[in-house]
């Protein structure tokens, strides 16, 4: 299904290699428009790799990722790489938020948000600045527009990064462990912002280690292990009644770690 402001993603028989290392093995996953999909799994299972294949930050060798029915990165399934221009065209509707925020250190919060509005969307500087301020206000940073990233807390930096992605009005948002570089007391403020965004009907794919958050916000949870998609199901099923022994084992370690 394709809606006005949300994309759907169809991943079919996706295979990804780092040289000889088989990082993703025959992944099949449907990400419905307007829904929140959380990716969970042990460290090194391929969650980031899968997420980065969705906007083709990582090239893949087998199968395809289709966004609203259009293969990303390749001319066609198994075909040649698509032109840089067409890839950029597709990326314009995909936002991404990184674990390490990746804000540009030589730009203020407002300039970080305005940059792509000017350079990619071609807005005037004034228009972009206005939009940037609005986006920053939305994530509760209306008073930090002139701050450089190194003057902001981790939680504030991540909220700027979210504002930067959201200001482009993407139809699909990708989050790679948006809170795992944050001090525990800052996690909440970022999760709240993400939860608010989820309620606006944008398609979201979130790699996370916050199981409580995933259980609360996800429409479906995909569990990866060793490059394989073990299961994709509603959170109630994954968390309360996991069908696979590997998921059970993963959740047990997770709970053991979070009890003290």
């Amino acid at each position: 299904m394709t809606s006005e402001n949300a994309s759907s993603v169809e991943i079919t028989a996706l295979g990804k290699y780092y040289n000889n290392f088989h990082a993703l093995k025959n992944i099949n996953l449907s990400i419905p428009a307007g829904k929140v999909t959380c990716l969970i799994g042990p460290s090194g299972s391929g969650k980031s790799t899968l997420l980065r294949c969705i906007n083709f930050l990582e090239e893949y060798q087998e199968g395809a990722v289709e966004i609203d029915g259009q293969v990303i990165g390749l001319e066609a399934v198994g075909g040649r790489k698509m032109s840089a221009r067409r890839l950029r065209e597709m990326r314009r509707s995909i936002g991404m938020v990184f674990q390490q925020f990746n804000l540009w250190p030589h730009m203020t919060a407002q300039q970080n948000v305005a940059e792509a509005l000017v350079q990619v969307q071609g807005l005037s500087k004034a228009e972009a600045a206005r939009k940037a301020v609005a986006a920053l206000e939305k994530v509760g940073l209306g008073d930090k527009t002139e701050s450089f990233p190194n003057r902001l807390s981790g939680g504030q930096q991540q909220r700027v990064a979210i504002a930067r992605a959201v200001a482009m009005e993407p139809k699909l948002m990708l989050f790679d462990e948006p809170t795992s570089a944050l001090d525990p007391e800052l996690v909440g403020e970022v999760l709240t912002v993400i939860k608010d965004l989820a309620s606006e009907g944008m398609t979201m794919v979130i790699v996370t280690h916050e199981m409580g958050f995933a259980a609360h916000v996800a429409d479906q949870v995909a569990f990866l292990e060793a490059g394989e998609l073990v299961s994709c199901a509603p959170p109630a099923e994954i968390f309360r009644n996991p069908s696979d022994a590997r998921i059970k084992a993963f959740l047990e370690t997770y709970h053991a770690r979070n009890q003290f």
Binding site: R91, G95, N102, H106, P149
Partner: protein, 222 residues
């Protein structure tokens, strides 16, 4: 010490200082420009070009400036390159400095965090815009301290230009001491001029560094 000597030779010494400063400014600026082009070409260019430039860097860094300058000035006419002392000296400084500057920029390019470039790609920016708007500004900021440092080293290399009769500071001072036998005074004047010169440059470098570091996180400038 004979102060009258400085009054008598003052204009000549000042002209020497002026020439030194001129050669240094044009030489350092040219070296930085050439070094930058080399670094960017090595980073983004095709493999054969990278090998050629690597060879250039190794040869220039591996030989003394004195010899490079000698070859350029006295050997140049053999291949039709007939230069006056000052242009020869400046060109020599540019060539001599370029590989050091290139290495500074190359290291700086490699140190630009990958994530900042990936953020640009994810935001659908073109590679050209990423280079211009993200990579180069970050590179410039992290490069200020090492650029200042090598430019200070280069001030003292300008003394070597005296061997091709550039009337720079050392050349003038040598003339003065040859005419007056006042070696102490001459050396004293020389040291004083260089010291003042270097102080001005490091002050300017610190100012620039301070300005650029205002927004740069510690990890980046380290």
């Amino acid at each position: 010490m004979d102060i009258d000597l400085f009054v008598q030779y003052g204009p000549m010494l000042l002209r020497g200082l002026l020439n030194t400063v001129l050669c240094w400014i044009v030489g350092a600026a040219g070296g930085i420009a050439l070094g930058f082009v080399i670094a960017v070409a090595m980073y983004y260019g095709p493999r054969p070009l990278r090998y050629v430039l690597r060879g250039y860097i190794e040869v220039i860094r591996g030989t003394p400036f004195l010899i490079q300058l000698f070859i350029l000035y006295y050997g140049g006419p053999n291949i039709g390159l007939r230069l006056d002392p000052v242009p020869a000296g400046i060109l020599g400084l540019i060539i001599y400095g370029s590989p050091y500057y290139a290495e500074i920029f190359r290291a700086g390019l490699q140190a630009v965090p990958r994530g900042m470039i990936e953020a640009g790609r994810a935001m659908a920016m073109s590679e050209g815009k990423i280079l211009r708007r993200i990579t180069l500004p970050i590179l410039m900021v992290s490069s200020v301290p090492p650029l200042t440092n090598f430019s200070i080293i280069l001030t003292k290399e300008t003394a070597i230009l005296s061997i091709v009769t550039v009337p720079e500071l050392l050349y003038q001072v040598q003339t003065m001491s040859a005419e007056t036998f006042a070696y102490m005074e001459a050396m004293f004047a020389l040291a004083l001029f260089y010291w003042g010169f270097v102080e001005v440059i490091s002050w300017a470098g610190r100012k620039l560094e301070h300005k650029t570091n205002a927004f740069l996180s510690k990890e980046l400038s380290a």
